[in-house]
């Protein structure tokens, strides 16, 4: 009897294990700390057999997104027996390499990795994410922002695997240095504080430009900004303009008036943002007007600039093990505006607390082609790509380009324990990011067909 009971218990455990995909097998050989049980886990994929089937994936060039695509493709192959082909394409070619096969009725790729704002152009070619994947614990943990970014006409058609937004980065060692504070006060008459408005940002940048405040024998500068033509400059401009143009009480469109579809780009809020952008250019490092994202990353992350605002890359660069400014940086929300254009009244409204308009911009995403004959395998691959264990590992590798997009990523301990960040720094990072996700005055990218004509 005892023996029968034991056998029953073992059988029941086996059934439960199989159904949850949980097993005791050690998957740390894949470079993860531990497999995390669930429908997308290593164990679950290991239980599947896709032998004899081929998955075709198009992704960005290595390393940003391209490297994790290839890495997880290789792991997926090993676990499931599938053959996975990954085509890596430079960014300038990615859009047309995805769209042309669709437009010419070819079934070239099962899985696509691309910029999330292209959803307007690609939505009719994408397969909806099945309910089971939407209900998975990993997906349930994705913040509302990125669920919305993945959704078109009420249907989730993109599979979230990255979270991008613009925020402010600054050097804490300089802002807290009494000598620097004194110098700033003597030049401006006010205390040196983390800029709360774009006017303050420009003022701080001006004071800290063109002299060697880091003491390394070379000149430093106040601000590094992505200003190069056709190199994501649109995001920098909108970051600057949003606080002036996005009135919290005015609804019905940010880029267009949704009632009349009149473009709002020439309205006073946007113009004010542009004026301050131009004003700031006087204090950029030599060549600053030609800084692309790579230059901005290097300028702030390398210690040349006091502040910058863009995606996580410069911050991660500053936090590299060998960085001279490691743990001397912090994150903060984008500066705001004390006066905000109200297009309903046609007047500037004054705010006691600066108006902030967090900008959720760009972001890599993934999707499955609705022409794919392998949609089951394709969704399993994406589910595996972004499973909790893989994401935890990918987040720690700056060059992968995967940034926080789940609630669980906004845990300061994660960054302190895994990456050795200072507690205050990690706290500023997760607070900044999570506060953006909960803001009621967020700005998203324009997502219309033909978006590349407007946002480059």
């Amino acid at each position: 009897m005892k023996h029968k009971l034991l056998m029953g218990a073992v059988s029941a455990l086996a059934i439960v294990s199989a159904s949850t995909g949980y097993s005791q097998e050690d998957y740390t050989r894949f470079g993860i700390e531990a497999d995390i049980p669930g429908m997308c886990s290593y164990a679950s994929m290991d239980a599947k057999d896709y032998s004899g089937r081929t998955l075709n994936i198009i992704s960005h060039a290595i390393p940003v997104i391209g490297e994790p695509t290839a890495l997880h493709a290789q792991q997926f192959e090993e676990l499931t027996g599938a053959k996975v082909n990954v085509v890596h394409v430079p960014f300038g070619d990615l859009f047309q390499r995805i769209l042309i096969p669709f437009q010419t009725n070819q079934n070239a790729y099962d899985v696509l990795f691309y910029a999330s704002l292209w959803i307007g152009d690609l939505n009719s070619y994408l397969a909806p994410v099945p309910e089971a994947y939407q209900n998975s614990p990993g997906m349930q943990d994705v913040t509302r922002n990125y669920i919305d970014v993945a959704t078109w006409d009420g249907q989730m058609i993109q599979y979230p695997m990255d979270g991008d937004r613009h925020y402010l980065k600054y050097r804490t060692d300089i802002f807290s240095d009494p000598a620097m504070q004194e110098r700033f006060k003597s030049e401006t008459g006010r205390d040196l504080t983390v800029p709360a408005t774009w006017e303050e940002y420009n003022e701080v940048a001006r004071v800290f430009s063109g002299w060697d405040w880091s003491g390394d024998g070379t000149n430093n500068y106040g601000s590094a900004e992505v200003a190069k033509r056709d190199d994501l400059m649109f995001s920098a401009f909108i970051s600057r303009a949003a606080a002036f143009a996005k009135h919290p009480d005015v609804k019905g469109g940010f880029f267009f008036d949704l009632e009349t579809m009149e473009p709002l780009i020439n309205t006073p809020g946007f113009v004010r943002g542009l004026e301050l952008f131009i004003e700031a250019s006087k204090d950029w490092a030599p060549g600053g007007a030609n800084f692309g994202l790579g230059d901005e990353i290097f300028s702030f992350g390398g210690g040349q600039a006091l502040m910058s605002y863009s995606w996580d890359d410069a911050f991660i660069q500053a936090q590299q093990e060998d960085s001279p400014i490691r743990n001397n940086v912090a994150a903060a929300p984008l500066p705001g505006a004390s006066q905000v254009w109200n297009r309903d009244t046609g007047q500037w409204d004054t705010f006691d607390e600066p108006n902030r308009a967090p900008y959720i911009t760009w972001g890599w995403t993934s999707a499955v082609s609705n022409r794919s004959q392998n949609q089951d395998m394709a969704f399993d691959y994406l589910c595996f790509f972004s499973n909790e264990a893989n994401t935890l590992s990918d987040l720690q590798i700056g060059r992968f380009g995967v940034n926080p997009y789940r609630e669980s990523h906004f845990d300061a301990d994660l960054w302190t324990n895994k990456l050795g960040w200072d507690e205050s720094l990690a706290a500023s990072y997760v607070e900044t990011l999570s506060s953006m996700d909960t803001s009621q005055n967020r700005v998203f990218d324009l997502r219309v067909p033909g978006v590349n004509q407007f946002m480059t």
């Binding site: 047309q96 437009q103 490092a285 030599p286 060549g287 480059t456």
Partner: protein, 291 residues
């Protein structure tokens, strides 16, 4: 005889058909696409008549890019010709290290344009590149290489000259080596010095080759794209935006395939007409009858 002609035709036909397919099909297809409204939203070959052509005549940015291209291509090719000719003359008579010198001169041409453009962009990076370090040492201060319209144009020309002068050098050196020795002997016997020999013997004898080299390079230079794409992205503003880069933006970035095809066809027609006229003028000016 008739049989021979038939055999010739039979043997030539496959190659001819492949050639026609390679050249004509893309051309005819592009012309057809140029009459369609194919873009990101409406794919396919619908028929919108001459709308795209009407639009491009009012597109100031296209015409500006074309005149900018003319200036960049003309300046680059003239500089390449002068430098290439000078280098070829140097190496032509030189005996010592001739082989190694020739190989060294050819290296820029053998490098990949995109890779070299990335290296040049780093060199001219205004904060971090060595070009401004050098300018500083010479007391010239910080030069806005890539953020000032005129300087950015200079950089684009400079990189093109660096990359393609070896091509001119190679063609002109081959021409110099193929010249008969007798005219030079006669000039020496008549007591002509090196300058007079150059203007009265070498240059006229090289005229047909020079015209060929100039035309080939003008055709190539009119397609300048990688350098602009990598170094300036057409900026600052649109100050280095050339026709091919503008067509690339419209076609592959904005995905206005139909309009980009109309731009391409117009550009091709303009280039054929212009280059034919330039070739005629150069031949008439430089090549003397019997040369």
């Amino acid at each position: 005889m008739q049989g021979l002609t038939r055999y010739k035709l039979i043997f030539l036909l496959p190659g001819l058909l492949i050639l026609l397919g390679i050249i004509l099909f893309p051309l005819i297809f592009t012309v057809r696409v140029s009459f369609s409204g194919w873009d990101a939203i409406r794919p396919g070959l619908d028929w919108i008549g001459g709308t795209n052509y009407g639009r491009l005549f009012a597109d100031g940015r296209f015409w500006q890019s074309l005149s900018r291209l003319g200036a960049i291509a003309f300046t680059s090719v003239v500089l390449e010709y002068l430098l290439g000719f000078g280098l070829a003359l140097l190496v032509w008579r030189q005996v010592k290290f001739r082989r190694i010198t020739r190989v060294l001169f050819l290296i820029p041409m053998m490098t990949t344009p995109v890779v070299m453009a990335v290296i040049w962009r780093t060199i001219f990076h205004e904060s971090l590149g060595p070009a401004n370090d050098l300018a500083g040492m010479l007391g010239l201060g910080t030069i806005p290489w890539l953020t000032h319209s005129a300087w950015a144009t200079v950089v684009v020309i400079l990189v093109d000259v660096w990359q393609w002068t070896p091509f001119m050098f190679l063609l002109l050196l081959a021409g110099l080596l193929s010249l008969p020795k007798e005219p030079f002997l006669a000039a020496a016997i008549d007591g002509a010095g090196p300058i007079r020999t150059f203007f009265n013997v070498t240059f006229p004898a090289m005229a047909p080759i020079s015209v060929g080299a100039l035309i080939i390079r003008l055709i190539e230079a009119s397609k300048i794209m990688e350098t602009v794409y990598v170094i300036t992205s057409g900026g600052p503003g649109t100050s280095t935006e050339t026709s091919s880069y503008y067509i690339f933006i419209r076609g592959l970035r904005d995905f206005q395939i139909g309009y980009a095809a109309a731009l391409s066809v117009t550009y091709l027609v303009i280039m054929i007409v212009l280059l034919t006229i330039i070739a005629k003028i150069l031949t008439k000016t430089l090549v003397k009858p019997g040369a």
